[in-house]
Structures are given as structure tokens and as C-alpha cells.
Subunit: 329 residues, 2 copies
């Protein structure tokens, strides 16, 4: 590999001058500059990132901690983050916890040793240990999707969006509304969305039957199984609508319903959250809410950039959303 010393020698200047030329810092004589430019061109020289980092403490890399790398939401968010980071000439280091909370901490440490300039965390929990880790953390961390105490967080409007879905269902005359959720260890998807469900039911004096509620694990299959449990467990008192906290689980639920010959929304209405592309193309098309994940990615990206620059804006922000009414309700 050619180094700055090679360039200096070939151009007949000191490496100090080459460095100045490269970074546009300080004066470089016309003639010297031209010689340097030419040599760089000929050799295809690129400064060593690690040497630069060692000196400047800046890597130009930010880390993203994802719950699951191969997910529609993840890739939309990453795409948004990537857009703003590219603008700043920064690179992205991806990390995948596979839904294991311990790995969130593990990767935080890993990204520290890689000297990421900042970290965007898409957590699935907000545990004590995680908070402590971040508190003592030497590099800026922002969160997306979960409101982590003490950490600048951009969250989705889980409660409001879920309330809107419930409102829509109830407005359409549904009274026996079931629910397919995820574990409450997940504050955003597990707790908040379920809270909106039970609150809405109570507000309208509707009965919340335990047997109308089932838990999945985000997967399409788990939605299918959850729906099956709800149906087989309530032969005599079937719900007439089901609110699923993700589109994937809603897709599975619909699959089961269709297999069993139920008409959607005639017999049972179904709604989800997330607006996966699939939601639009399955039959019937799925009523859901769009979270603008890509824009959310851009927004956390900007948040991170700001906190890296030392700007302390309002620490908590909620991202916009939009209810998408389609044919499943």
C-alpha cells in the first residue's frame, strides 16, 4: 500500500504538506499542490483510515444495533439512516441481536471498541442493565422505537396509532374485538399497543375476554397460531374483529381465517400495524398504520448527528404515523 510518505517523496515535499493538501488545512503552494494532486492520481492513494482514526479519534462510522437484520422494518429504517449518513460521508456498521437482549449490551461494547462515532439502538427492551451501560457510555447513543430513560429517543406513536385502529374497529360496529400481541417485555410493541387495546375496550364498556387475546413472536406463523387458539378456544363466542400488533402476525391470522372459511371482514375484521408492502397486496388488503420507517430512520440519523455535535435538543420525540384504511376492516 502506498502511504503518505510515498506521496511526499514522489511529489518532493514533506508529508506535512501532503496532509495539509489532503485536508485542506493550511497553505499549500500552487506548484506543490499540483504535483501532489498528480501523484495521488497516479498512485490511487487513499489515506489509511485507521491511522487517521488513531490520531483524530474519529472513525466516520456509526453503528446500528438491530433486533433483526432481515426484516422489512429494519431495512427501511437502515435505508433512511443511510441516506443521512451518506450525506455526511459516514459509513454504517450493522449489528444484529437476533432479539436477544444480552446482545444489545454486547454490541454496544463492540461498537465502542470499534470506536464508532455514534450509535443508533433499536432496542426491544429498556432494562436496567441496558440503561446503566448507556449512561456510562463514552460515545453518543440514540434510540429508535423505544423510549429509553436518559437516552435521546425517537419513538413511534404506538399508543395513539393503536387507539386509532381500535376507534376504527369500534366505529365500524365491532364490539367483540380480539387481540394478538407480543411479550410485554417489549414496552413499545408489547405494552403500549396492548394498553391502547384494553383502554379502548374499557372506555367503550366492552368486555375484554382473556381468551380473545393471544401472544405471538412477530412471525407470520405465530400470528397464524395465535388466531387458531383464539378461534378454537371460543367456538361459542367468536370475536368479530382482531387487532394484531404487527402486519406479519395479521397476515398469519388472516391466513388461518381464510383457511377456515371465514370471510374477512364479514365474519372477522383484521387490522395490523406497520404497513408492510405485503399489506397492500394480500386479499383482502390489510388495514394498518404506516409508521414512515424510512423517514424515522432519517430522523434518528439527524438526532444522532446533532447529539454527536453536542446539541441537546428535546430528548424525546414521537414520529408521525398514518392510518391506512383498506379492505380487511
Amino acid at each position: 500500500m502506498t502511504t503518505i510518505n510515498d506521496i511526499a517523496k514522489l511529489a518532493g515535499v514533506s508529508r506535512t504538506t501532503v496532509s495539509r493538501f489532503l485536508n485542506n488545512s493550511g497553505y499549500v503552494g500552487q506548484e506543490a499542490g499540483e504535483r501532489i494532486a498528480q501523484v495521488i492520481n497516479e498512485t490511487g492513494y487513499m489515506p489509511s483510515q485507521s491511522a487517521q482514526t488513531l490520531r483524530t479519534k474519529k472513525t466516520g462510522v456509526i453503528g446500528i444495533i438491530l433486533p433483526k437484520i432481515s426484516t422489512e422494518t429494519s431495512s427501511r429504517v437502515v435505508s433512511g439512516i443511510n441516506r443521512v449518513m451518506k450525506r455526511e460521508g459516514m459509513q454504517i456498521l450493522l449489528t444484529d441481536t437476533e432479539l436477544d437482549p444480552d446482545k444489545e449490551i454486547e454490541y454496544l461494547r463492540l461498537l465502542k471498541s470499534r470506536q464508532a462515532d455514534g450509535i443508533i439502538l433499536l432496542a426491544t427492551n429498556i432494562g436496567e442493565r441496558l440503561q446503566q451501560e448507556i449512561e456510562a457510555f463514552p460515545i453518543p447513543v440514540v434510540a429508535l422505537g423505544q423510549n429509553i430513560p436518559g437516552v435521546p429517543s425517537l419513538t413511534y406513536a404506538d399508543y395513539d396509532a393503536s387507539s386509532d385502529i381500535m376507534q376504527l374497529l369500534i366505529g365500524k360496529g365491532h364490539r367483540k374485538i380480539g387481540f394478538i400481541g407480543v411479550s410485554e417485555t417489549d414496552p413499545a410493541v408489547g405494552k403500549l399497543r396492548q394498553g391502547a387495546y384494553t383502554d379502548a375496550m374499557k372506555r367503550h364498556n366492552l368486555e375484554v375476554k382473556e381468551s380473545w387475546m393471544a401472544e405471538g413472536d412477530f412471525s407470520i406463523d405465530s400470528g397464524y397460531e395465535a388466531m387458531k387458539r383464539i378461534i378454537t378456544g371460543n367456538r361459542s363466542a367468536l370475536p368479530d374483529a382482531v387487532f394484531c400488533v404487527t402486519d406479519r402476525m395479521a397476515t398469519g391470522a388472516m391466513e388461518y381465517l381464510k383457511e377456515q372459511g371465514f370471510s374477512i371482514p364479514g365474519d372477522v375484521a383484521v387490522a395490523g400495524i406497520g404497513d408492510a408492502v405485503m399489506a397492500r397486496y394480500i386479499t383482502p388488503s390489510l388495514t394498518t398504520v404506516n409508521y414512515y420507517n424510512e423517514e424515522a430512520g432519517e430522523a434518528v440519523g439527524e438526532m444522532l448527528l446533532e447529539t454527536m455535535a453536542g446539541i441537546k435538543h428535546s430528548k424525546k420525540m414521537m414520529h408521525k404515523y398514518r392510518l391506512i384504511k383498506r379492505d380487511s376492516v
Copy 2:
């Protein structure tokens, strides 16, 4: 940040010893080791990656150049690559060309300056300039999805898979088969799949009508528009089947067909390639071929690891695939 010097001081040894302890290289006394371990624990010390890289020339990072970051195929592939890289303790740097061929070269250079230990390239072309760039490249590059001359490449069996689709269509009695493809600048998706289509038609003495063929750009919308062009342009001689080179375009095509009241596969059969999750859940479910993207990701990952280790195996490999017969044909 605590450095190796701090640790050495706190543990009352030289930094040489700390380094040996860290890397398990050479002897470290029992007692010294214990003291070091304790200090490291207390301080949460992590060695600086950039300093290590500067010395050893290894970053522990591999770069991936993706045509589009937020795509189902991409995220599956990345997930597979990630699995093998994680096993090796390596990290992934993601890069997105947004389908711009110039950026493939740009990112190659960027990853060089970041001293990636290796690069996995998901190209959309195999142009001269790209080949030259790679030829002179100081770090190992492997390709996935395109067969790039001179570069170890893992490709999908585009021709065979497409032939299988055609075989299926023809076997079901279809004779007037249309085609929705992408630009032929893409050798794998554009050329090979189209070649299989025309070859199959000719082999069976079936007429290939220009007006039955349309080009899209991978998007669902473009599939919709392509189908529209085919239908509106052939009112008197409609095809009775359409082979779409991607599931997303097939989805768009089906959408148009359904809107227009055509029955699928009664009036027009539709097939795709890729086995997007959506393929299974749209109505009718889509006949397609599964490319095992995640395993392909693992496989290129291994290929890269091997070529990084200096192993020169057979440079060209084709990944397995499976025809998935569903209800759209």
C-alpha cells in the same frame, strides 16, 4: 478512554505483558495475569481497533456492496453473510449503490481506504471498468449474483430456473407466453432469464411476439405498468401466461390483471422468481423459484473467508434453487 498503558500501570506490568495477555500470545505469569484480568474488568477496557489495525493491517471488517439496501433479497443475503462473519468475529460494513453502477466502483475504493479485510459485491453489471478496478485491487473481492470475469463468483442458476418456469408453463398447456423482464445491462436478471424465455419458446416452436414482452425496473409498480402495456397492446391476441423475472414485478402484474377482471391463472397464468414472503400470501399464491438467498449469503461469506485465507477454490459456483408451484399457474 483507558488505554493499554493505563492497564499496564494499574496492574503494575509493562504494556507488552498486557498485550500478550490480551492476545494469548507468549507467556504471562499466573499472578500478573490475574491482576491484569481484574484491572480490565474494573475499567471495562477495550483495545483500540484503529491502533490494532494500524499495526496488524487487519480490521476485522468486511464490506458489502448492495444494489439496494432495503430489499427483501438484500436483507436475506446480508443475514446469511452476517451469520458466518459473526462466527469469525468479523463485522460488516454496508454500502448501497442505489442501482448506480458508478457507485460500485466508488464504494470499492471507499472500502479500500477503510481497509476492509474483504469485500462482497452484489453487482448489477459486469462492465469493463468494474473488472479493471477489481483486477488491480489489493484486497479480496467475491461476487454474488453476477458472474464477473476474473472474480470468484457465486451465481444463481438464472438460466436453469427460468427454463424450469417455462417448462412448467408450457407443460400446463400455455402457448402464448408473455415476458416481463429488466434491462439487459444486468447480465443475470436481464439477459440470462430472458434468454431462457426465448430459448424455451423457440425450442417449442412458439411464437415470440415483441408486444408480449415488456421491461420493468424491479419495482412492483413497474410490473403493473408492464402488464398494462402488454394487455392494452394486444387486445386481440392476449397472452395466456406471463413470466416475470422477479416476484415484485409479478405482484404488480397480478394487481393489474385482477383490477381488469382477469382470472389468474384461468385467463392468464403468472410466475415470478425470488420467493418473496409476499408470494405465498397474495391471492392467488404465486408460483416462483426460491433461490435460498440466506444460504447463498452464507456461501459467499465462506467463499470470501477462503479467498482471504489464500485458498483458491473453483472460482465459479452456482447456487441451488427450488421451483415452488403454487396457485398462479
